[in-house]
Point group: C2
């Protein structure tokens, strides 16, 4: 295409236009011809490149997006590598949109069964000892099924991972003199849904954090700017964003979000009200729909995680579950964190079914959908579903989701 253009347009003019197009595209401009579409890209060794901007940008050839609905955005797991989720691709789920909060006016009140009810400003929170940890947050409703043409993003894109930094909640509990008799606390958000959940004090003392930073910088608005509750390994909904109030008590508060929602139907028409931990899970992100593969060596890759601890191993089957072998786990394997795994496989070109199964360090093994149905009954709700996900590789190299039947 370059040669063809050379004959029609003076080369100097073309280079200039292309360089401008390239530069402007890289600098975030929008009105220049898209170099991806025009294909007019000069030899990069022959034209001066773009100068630095205030911020870096993505290549115009890379346009990952969160599939956004009115209430949520999902991480494009099939496009990602390793364990860090870029902050602008972190999943989001809110009950009344993303509020705009002035950090100068932000306040967190801790009261109830405490000796010294206290209002903390953001500056106050940052003055306490800081801690960082790389860990995932996953929505408890993180499972979809239904058709073969579903991506990992569509199936389970409501999990993402960041380096979170903040102050340990235990530090704040000591500061306000939380009562040793207290057993639960309420966490309340400052969004228009005033999202509220009850959380056992034990978790608060153990590893809960008030996070104000994400992947090195201020936490993003969609993830709770300027501060959120972070409960490593526990269902996303409890990790209250835009947190403004914590009330210490000796009983759960029975909020809307733990009665009408976020409960699970189990057997014999019973309902499990509190289910905090996200169980071990994994998904193969390569190969997955809509990718295609070629005969020969394929490195099967994906992520595994557990809200109960570290991933102990990830088992891979390339024959529909008859035989299993361990994948290699990328070090360092972190507690309550997405863990990158890989497994070399030689595909002979025949139709195949591949799947992964996570085992965490408590010994828990990721179940098949059938096991979930056996345990909970076929009218189980949509929360805490972590079935083994299988991909079908067709003779022509196309990869399709093997949709799990819910009944």
């Amino acid at each position: 295409m370059e040669e063809k253009n050379d004959k029609k347009i003076p080369r100097r003019a073309m280079l200039k236009a292309a360089a401008l197009s390239a530069t402007t595209a890289l600098m975030g401009g929008v009105k220049v011809p898209d170099p991806v579409k025009t294909g007019v890209i000069p030899d990069p060794t022959k034209v001066q490149g773009a100068v630095p901007g205030k911020l870096g940008t993505r290549s115009p050839f890379e346009q990952p997006i969160k599939k956004a609905s009115e209430i949520s955005g999902r991480t494009p797991l099939q496009d990602l590598y390793g364990i860090i989720t870029p902050s602008d691709l972190h999943f989001e789920r809110s009950h009344a949109g993303v509020p705009l909060i002035d950090p100068q006016k932000y306040e967190l009140l801790i009261h109830g069964m405490v000796e010294r009810p206290t209002v903390f400003t953001l500056k106050d929170l940052k003055r306490f000892p800081a801690l960082s940890r790389i860990a995932f947050i996953e929505c408890s409703g993180n499972f979809r099924t239904g058709k073969e043409t579903m991506t990992p993003q569509e199936i389970c894109g409501l999990t993402s991972q960041s380096e979170w930094t903040g102050v340990m909640l235990s530090t704040l509990f000591r500061e306000v003199g939380a009562s040793p008799k207290a057993t639960w606390f309420l966490a309340e958000g400052s969004d228009a849904a005033v999202m509220t959940r009850s959380i056992p004090m034990e978790k608060g003392w153990k590893d809960a954090m008030i996070a104000y930073a994400q992947n090195g910088e201020a936490i993003r608005p969609e993830q709770g700017y300027p501060a959120r509750l972070f409960l490593p390994g526990w269902e996303g909904n409890m990790n209250i964003k835009w947190i403004r109030r914590i009330e210490v008590s000796d009983q759960p508060f029975m909020t809307r979000e733990e009665t009408s929602k976020y409960t699970e139907t189990i057997k014999d028409h019973k309902i499990r009200q509190f289910s905090f931990d996200m169980d071990a899970r994994s998904i193969i992100t390569y190969p997955s729909y809509p990718q295609e593969v070629e005969k020969g060596w394929i490195e099967i890759r994906g992520i595994a995680w557990s809200g109960r601890g570290k991933i102990d191993r990830v088992e891979i089957s390339t024959d529909g579950g008859k035989h299993w072998n361990n994948a290699v786990l990328q070090e360092p394997v972190l507690d309550k964190a997405h863990t990158f795994f890989r497994y070399l496989w030689r595909w002979d070109g025949n139709p195949a079914e591949i799947m992964s199964r996570a085992v965490d360090d408590t010994g828990y093994r990721q179940p098949f959908m059938k096991q979930l149905i056996d345990a909970r009954g076929s009218d189980m709700g949509g929360y805490h579903l972590n079935p083994v996900t299988a991909w079908l590789i067709e003779r022509d190299g196309k990869v399709l989701f093997k949709p799990e039947k819910r009944k």
Copy 2:
């Protein structure tokens, strides 16, 4: 301010405008009044928040930038937390700007003393086994001094850290049958500077990587899209970006960048030509200029790193170097990686001088400027300078850089 506005404008109109302003600001629009400036921010619990976009955004109250010149951008270390550098804040330095490269047309040639000279496409590179590691890259010219009003970004913002994913160069060397007699290889970039450096084969076999991903997604243009050489711990300039050619040889190539530049004047008018490893270093990022502090408990925070291994400890002095105590290191402490440290200190309100000193697991201790001058002579160049950085805390809480004198 809200109340004042209430009297002038019907409340409904104000809320609507504010919500729109908030939403548009969050969605990346530019023509609405800046909520930071207008201060017109409604109670977030009373207005519907913003709906998800294709990508997340920063809060309009957070506007970190790389200080950009014509050739470089620097990471705002004083604004960051933890160890991950957001990709759009990763430092950049180029010799002819950032090229635009079509990933479909990208090719890497490996030739020279190899059995099978080979051209790899990006797809080829991604088909090999992948590896991820969190590590820093630092420019060898990462030191500035001169005045008290300098930020960590200005002093040493040419170091950043990402999770890098790619294929090990050793894998490609085996693929092409690199000669066991080869001792050096040339790495060549496809920017307009056609940046080239000679690198010992030993490093290539040990831990060099052709990286195509950064912090979970495709590598950014400023960092070498679609692929770069990554040499953990070695000076940034050698980590050739936009890499297009590797030539295996039995001698160094004596390129422009290792003769006229990137060499260091040492004693007796001698010049050190090859100095690969970035030595251990640290900087306190809080408190630092232009921050201010108050009397009482202060958590001194910063990052430490070494191109030779892991950080063993970071020593802190709060009395101008008379006494030293160990900081706490944030786990996991990774090899050749920025390590977040912190140290609780009670400031009595008197003028103080604070500083940090990194020690790596080879036993090397970060030197004072005087030690560097003693070792290299006062006409030493501007590369590989890693002196202890001190901050002066004034009685009023202002923090100033204590500029190192070069002579």
